[in-house]
Symmetry: C2
Subunit: 511 residues, 2 copies
């Protein structure tokens, strides 16, 4: 292994982790490739550092060090260090093995996850891992190893109550505020539900965005633990808690590549749930046109994979395939959804699709939690909702997280720039397009403008006359309303068709 001597040149750059930079000529001498690792032998010790190459930032013979590298390692400006190419880490060999379509061991997966969390993989290696999982797949064993590694390498919520239940929706459907009902219902029955959720990435509102309208959702792990131990539930944002943090890093690379490999999806969901200590889990798989899962066959395969994985991980899991071909309820966007959820909890006219879904999922959880016999869960959930106990529990959650438990529907501000979209023809509402609803709500300002979004006035199957109002767009700013309207006009979110009466031709066959 070739060694060269370089002089330390501290650079005024912060990179968030120790990074060095060397001249391309020096890199060539030791066979170093931009973005891979060098070993630095200094008087302070030996270090492995990811290093880039340059033609102008440092001269040949110099090793530029970012602030983190200079300070953490304590290298002195002008001091000499010996530099060689670092050997490939075990994780890089494991990634190569996966690229070759081979099955990884627990140890190999551990090395990858550990290096992902420690930020020791180059962007090239991380991308190779993500694409290898995408193209080669993973065995159930490998996914089990990955879940365990991801959980072990992060923070954990340690709660002194049993059993701990959780629920997760695969997502993709606008207006999916079910958790704001399901979590209070289940916890009102005495079960424990430490529900963490995400903010919207491509949709108009994530559960965390909606809940944030009613109470703060960025809580510390210790606060969450205290609240759950006291009242049995939270509805918080999981993003900054470092629960299975490898998952967040992997998902970022997947988003750049617009891929979502099933093994990673499975591992991701299970790791987040295991990290909060969940032992009994309900997975909601919304299925239909414009949802993440479009066909029943696909949904069944995914459900089966989840159940098998849970069995191997020693937790109980039930998967529910729900209709996801149009938005849930009528409201889309943080404030509008918070209003709809609260209205439904308060016992006013809640939309059937929302009550149906929230109580259905809650019912499965109640049955898993052993507080009602199999087959009676949904009825029990409905009773808890109708009795007002779920609302009382929601008030406790809101208060514990620091919100106003007595907030009234009209206290929740929604955008005051509103426009109605009307049916351009008479006919039946054939389809409400999930993607377009999300895009229009986002154009109107959601999820950042909490008051922006869409209120549907009708759902699929309804007969409309030309000129009937079919939805309202809410925005906080006129310009955003215009943007949303433009989009709605060029990409209509609702398809209306005349009822087709099949015309059977006179057939000569039986003559």
């Amino acid at each position: 292994m070739k060694t060269i001597t370089l002089r330390i040149k501290p650079l005024d750059i912060e990179t968030g982790k120790p990074i060095a930079i060397m001249h391309e000529e020096d890199a060539e001498k030791i066979g170093h490739v931009a973005g891979s690792r060098i070993k630095v032998y200094s008087q302070k010790g030996t270090f492995t550092i990811i290093t880039n190459t340059t033609r102008n930032l440092v001269a040949p013979g110099e090793l530029g060090t970012c602030k983190e590298a200079t300070c953490e390692i304590g290298l002195e400006a002008g001091s000499e260090v010996k530099v060689t190419l670092a050997p490939r880490p075990a994780s890089a060999n494991a990634i190569k093995k996966k690229l070759d379509g081979k099955v990884l061991t627990q140890q190999e997966i551990d090395s990858i996850i550990r290096d992902i969390v420690a930020d020791n993989l180059t962007a090239t290696e991380l991308a190779a891992f993500v694409t290898a999982v995408y193209t080669r797949g993973m065995t159930v064993d490998e996914i089990v190893f990955m879940v365990r590694s991801m959980v072990e390498s992060g923070e954990k919520l340690e709660i002194e109550r049993r059993p701990i239940l959780d629920v997760h929706s695969i997502g993709g459907v606008p207006g999916n505020k079910y958790a704001l009902l399901t979590v209070p219902i289940v916890s009102a029955a005495g079960l424990t539900v430490p529900k963490t959720s995400s903010r919207a990435i491509t949709s108009a509102a994530g559960t965390a965005d909606v809940m944030e309208v009613l109470a703060p959702v960025s809580l510390e792990l210790e606060e969450i633990k205290a609240i759950v131990e006291k009242i049995g539930a939270v509805l918080v944002w999981g993003g900054a808690l470092r629960l299975a943090p490898a998952d967040d890093i992997i998902i970022r690379a997947e988003r750049v590549l617009a891929i979502d490999p099933t093994p990673q999806l499975l591992a991701s969901v299970m790791a987040k749930k295991l990290a909060v200590g969940a032992e009994k889990i309900v997975i909601d798989i919304p299925t239909g046109s414009g949802a993440k899962v479009e066909t029943i066959e696909e949904a069944r395969r995914l459900a089966h994979d989840f159940i098998e994985l849970a069995r191997r991980l020693g937790v109980q899991l039930e998967a529910a395939i729900t209709y996801g071909g149009q938005p849930i309820g009528y409201a889309v966007g943080p404030a509008l959804e918070a209003r709809e959820a609260l209205e439904t909890l308060m016992g006013m006219n809640g939309p059937g699709s929302l009550i149906e879904k929230a109580t259905g999922l809650a019912g499965l959880m109640l049955e898993l939690g052993g507080v009602t016999p199999i087959g009676f869960g949904k009825q029990m959930a409905l009773e808890i909702l109708k009795s007002g106990k779920a609302y009382e529990q929601m008030k406790r959650i809101i208060e514990a997280q620091g919100g106003d438990p007595n907030v009234k529907i009209d206290d929740i501000p929604v955008g005051d720039k509103v426009e109605v979209l009307r049916a351009p023809v008479s006919g039946y509402i054939k389809q409400i397009d999930n993607h377009r609803i999300n895009e229009i709500a986002r154009a109107a300002g959601a999820p950042e403008h909490k008051g922006a979004g869409i209120k549907l006035l009708m759902k699929e199957g309804r007969k409309v006359e030309k000129g009937d109002p079919i939805l309202e767009i809410y925005a906080e700013h006129e310009s955003k309303l215009d943007e949303a309207l433009d989009l709605a006009r060029t990409h209509p979110p609702v398809r209306i068709e005349g009822m087709l009466i099949e015309r059977i031709s006179h057939s000569p066959r039986w003559e």
Copy 2:
């Protein structure tokens, strides 16, 4: 698409290309992922820039710009720009398609190669492309498209002579200095051979490293053109000529991942050859233990792939499978190899394996070039070599490139720190390990120290007595010699075994 307003904060960083950096909070607002692209609307126009995220380098509301971004775009410190997420480029969609195992069109491959050359792909996207080609493979059509794209996106050598021949060895075998004989032989017969070659990456000497001992090899494209048009040949380094530059970038990512996908290998070789205008190409596939290709079956498959690809690209190609299980000739390392090549050209005792290989490949080229009937090429090559015409032509090449044509063998300095390795037991030389020979020569200082390397004193099959000298290690520095000796002792490069006389047991079968 969400838009935010940021204030320009120029940073004192040179990155080699326009890069910006924004605070993670701002990135989250527009759904931006570190390392992907933003669109910047400024008074100077609209630009798409690859952007990283930070928690400390800039504050929320600021857009940090590297020197290249600040200067090229002309953004003023403190001025306000509108920023949105840039749409995914066509190349990113094409990469996703390849990841999904689909066949790419000419247009899609063009978009990828164009963005690679323009440095418009993120490290994640480039890695995904490389791994997709590795795991999904490519059809011959796709490889044809890729070769054409790679050639079109780079510089080309335009020579006014016909026919243009070229030769390329797949490599991996130490001591492979054949081109220093083959190129002068073929061009001495009046054919045109603009031979570009590479420097060593993992081996002890590339053709360019060896030739550099005799003459400069880093020539400009215009100089190369002038020399080839005058004397019919060059032996230069191809690395900085920007011939098919996408190839160099792709190979760098492959090296990080330690993969070498066959479609890319095929495209790489053909693109480099087509970029110099070659119409008749000989490919050498050294085959044997420790070579890049280890089995005859693999070599035949590769030969077939090359021939099919050449047919589709409208060029003539012959592939030769040569023995690559031990070093070619006796010398390994730039100066030692240059000496051996020159000695052989001068008609002194050249090693059989080198003469055999160099004239064999030259013979195929002479036949392809139409200066001799099929079957007579090798004999003609041997005559050109023995007549001294090849040496005369080599002198012309050395002189044209700026070296001393009358250099004598003893004028070429080799390392003066020499140690002999002796046989530890009596027996037959069973194997000379290519990898270990390379590693020991590199430990001794090759290819950077031109005089460092190994001189074999015996080859495979020879009988040796315990204590017989089997090889010499040359180094320019005592410390490097020690390093090489240590390595040779712990990892012996030569395997000696007693001749095994198979003992046939008395068999009762025919009784």
